[in-house]
Amino acid sequence: MKSSLHGSLRPLPILRLALADLRDEWLLSLCIALAIAAVLAPLMILFGLKSGAVEILRHRLVEDPRNREIRPKITRTFDVSWFQDIRHRPDVAFVTPLTRGISSTVDAVNGATGATGQLDLSPTGRGDALITENGAAIPKENECVLTAAAADELGVKKGDTVEIRTNRRVQKEFQTASLKLKVAGILDLRAGGAKIAYVLLPVVEAVEQYLDGQSVPEYGWTGTRPFAHPEFDGALLVAGSEGLDPAYERKAVTNTGFVRLEKLAASKIENVVGFKVGDTDQVWLLRPAGSTVRPENFDALKEKLRGSGVRILPWVDTVSVKIFSSDGHVFPANIKGVPAADAGNEAAAFAPKIPDARKPIDPLPVIFPGKGTPANEGDSIVLTGVGGPLTVPVKGISGIPAEGTVLVPSDSAGIFRQALSRQVERDPTTGEFLVVRRGYSGFRLFAKTIDQVDDLRRFLESEEIPVFHEGERINDVQTLDRQLSRFFWFIAGVGIAGAVATLAASLYASAERKSYELAVLRLLGLRRREIIQFPAWQGVLLTTIGFAMALGIYAIASSVLGQVFQDQLHAGEHLTYLPSGPVAAIFFLLLALALLSSLLASLRIMHTDLSEALREGSA
């Protein structure tokens, strides 16, 4: 039978010696490890609570999409391109336009019970975190998602039908439009206490359109269409050789919308007017206070100049277009208006004749440059306006405009002028000019993370858009985190100092008590670096055991705290949380300090006289 003499102290002989010594004096070793654990465990619990509580607050902040929402404080026009630009920012998760607040309130009726209530309509769409992170899916066409308060008010549940109604008054007559929407989901209470129905943007736009008096054919709602209205840069007053009485000059700029009257030099007249006037005619140019004037300004002007004998012509300044001829040529030209040559229009008496009695779908009658060459079938005028080109088919008629000018009926010139400041499109089926929606009065925007809310706020404020946001709550949590961290590190500093003092004192005392054994090992020929390893290994082992015990105590305490506070915690939340990084850092710091203290102890021992150590030890 092999005896224990067939064993070995290799590998790591000094570690084995150190371990054997700790095992031999296990009670003392346990006491030292417990002393370390007693200092570390409360620190770990404190750190765990600090990290856990902040993490819960932070998680709740992150989890609740309302904290990532940004809304403007002001109402202004945000055009479509603004939304396209901001949608492409990397920190924007979702953005949707908002219509005017006053037009987003509707009456709602429970389709089954008849229960009624008033709801706000709010647009939503793909990526809306408020919907998707609060227990519902983005509604489809003819669907809505209700807040819990809205659902309570109407007594509806998912799958029910709600009818929304909106009312308007047109010429003293009340009119109502309604739309049935299926309830696609009901949001968690967390989504807010307001009574809101979330629908796709076209629904909200339709309600706004209806309230503006317009029709919404998709829903069968009748009304007008958003026709474009002519706008002009001013008016031309054409008088005969007798000129304009100064009294009328004053009247022309009094409460008419016009403020400046300028008599044109004879040499400039054709160029400004766009065609030749009578040889002895004198022409005045009236300019408005604002940028443009509309037909009602002309009505006022006509009233003021009644009896003066002057002829009033709407005037557009510079409206550049391109003429595309059917044979492939393109000509640049400048549009000027000509009064319609209908019977009884004395203003048009001296002007080239353009008939205005036509259907909107018919090609626009125009007088082209080039000695009045009639245009061909398929010719068109294209104006590059706001939001895109406005293409109008034209029909050439006889007449001689000024050089580089194309003459169109005055009203059409006014429409072209409007297309320079608002998007105007021509309905190809009716030929009517319609203004396209200018923009939206607000937006709902979600940052991708709570940390990006402040960046977005700064960006929007740099664009002079003050916003509502939850930045303060986020900052509060971040400040709380920082403050708690300071408190923790202060306490941790004191605690770690205590642990280090305990560890250093214990290891130093342990090395001192072992001075005789270490002297014998030196006598037997162990080298200095081997002797130093002995207390060093003991320091590492005791620190590791103490740290592991502290982790065990922390785990028990964490479990107890979790049980006690379970009612306040959501699913998946933990009151205590120990991040591995700082914990590992503390562990390695303690190890380093343990090594340092054991090194100091062993260096002292190494400097004592070996023979004295042997004599003292054996005495």
């Binding site: 005896s3 002989p13 054997a20 031999d24 004096e25 023979s611």
Partner: protein
Amino acid sequence: MKWVYQLKNVTIERSKGGASFRLSIPDFQIPRGSFTAIVGQSGCGKSTLLDILGLVLPPTSADTFNLISRHGESFEISGKGAKELAQIRRQHLGYILQSGGLMPFLSVARNILLARMLTPATAMNADATEELVFRLGIEDQLDKKPSQLSGGQRQRAAIARAVAQNPEIILADEPTGSVDKYTAAKIRDLLLGCTRQQDIAVLIVTHDESLVQGIADATYSFELSQKSDGDLRSVLKQIA
């Protein structure tokens, strides 16, 4: 003759409580495999001599201070650094201290295994060590800690560790100081029996002259004198 130690005109001076102590070793050799005894009263310089031979205390001066290995390799001790001295101690010297010098936290077996850890190339193998342990009669004590042994058993274990290391010489400092005369004689005999077989020299320091009388190959003592200023002078002399 083959020597383990050769010392000529070696002196050491130490201060003790204001007075100085000077030990002179005019001529001192230890033959290989011999049993050399150092006897004398307390304070005469026995332990100081042992510290010099154990390479723990460097002499103040020395004409010759050599250790010669069984392979004929001679080590000039004077001027060697701490690292080299530790290496020589490890390879060539064995120790038996008054209390045994065993590691209290290791079992007897592990204490003996320390020898193999220190000199894996030259130490006894496991079978030879087992035989040694049987010879010393401590085969039943191998799993015990030193604190569980009697004084005699502890010294036998210390002998086993020292012999298992297979050094050139074993320096024994009062190895029987804590046991009765009968046990002391038995320990001495066991020590001599084990070392002679291995050709290991033994230097024993004892205050009990009778323990080595007629048995030691050479016995040395000290001629102690005190000068008028209180300084002590001690000279090593062979007495038998």
